[in-house]
Symmetry: C2
Subunit: 147 residues, 2 copies
């Protein structure tokens, strides 16, 4: 592995792992300080270090992210491959029409019956601060990205 942890190679490796698992558990801090997680499908993971997720604009997690730049964690687990990834980042909520248009795909109708014009549709933009992964049961972690 490259020692320069923020190298493009490492980011590409991270994106490959994320694509392989696809569904993340996204953890946020609730009003009362407790930590909650829920499964989220990764809509796009880009070489710009940004991950995109569709979300209901008025939803529990959006409420918890109402402060833009809220800390979140995304964990990607694939027990059958013994692959575990932790991504620490900041999330912000947007209704950017153009971005929704760009990222929309029809399978999302399961969550947004109104399609991409659903009044409640929103996007979570997560900027990656730090990423780590484990790929064998006895392995210690590998810092992949960030500090």
């Amino acid at each position: 592995m490259n020692n320069n942890q923020t190298s493009p190679e490492n980011l590409n490796k991270l994106i490959d792992m994320i694509k392989d698992v696809d569904i993340a558990m996204m953890t946020t801090i609730d009003d009362d300080g407790s930590l909650r997680s829920r499964p989220m499908r990764t809509q796009k993971s880009g070489t710009d270090g940004i991950l995109w997720f569709f979300t209901g604009y008025e939803s529990g997690k959006s409420h918890e992210i109402k402060d833009n730049d809220a800390h979140v964690n995304l964990s990607y687990s694939k027990p059958s491959d013994e692959l575990y990834v932790s991504v620490s980042g900041r999330a912000s909520l947007t209704k950017d029409k153009q971005k929704i248009e760009e990222l929309w795909d029809p399978t999302l109708k399961a969550w947004f019956p109104g399609g991409k014009d659903d009044p409640n549709i929103g996007l979570l933009k997560v900027t990656i601060d730090k990423a780590e992964y484990w790929d064998a049961p006895n392995s210690t972690l590998i810092h992949l990205y960030g500090m």
Copy 2:
């Protein structure tokens, strides 16, 4: 499902799901406010609503949990079964000899080469506050335990 969310049936159902997945991603809040997660093997999940994990007594996560009763999240994901569980709870760190003795099993030597007398061995006791699960891609969440 029983409507009484803290019923013993629901706790038993939760424990069954946890046993099936075994490895949780444990999220804690770092000193700088960021959220970090790492894979942890669930050593015991009891009908008393308490989960036990072995940990290094001096470790990153122990440091983050140094305030006893720190909020943690445990996510259990099994993509192959489309099963996702979120457990919100409080963690505290202990070196309780008797409990270590009771929960120790030899496969733990991978992390604690010194065995159960390893000076750095510790236990994380997580008291469950709240649990939710999803078991199909389009399902909305099911509150399982706590409110």
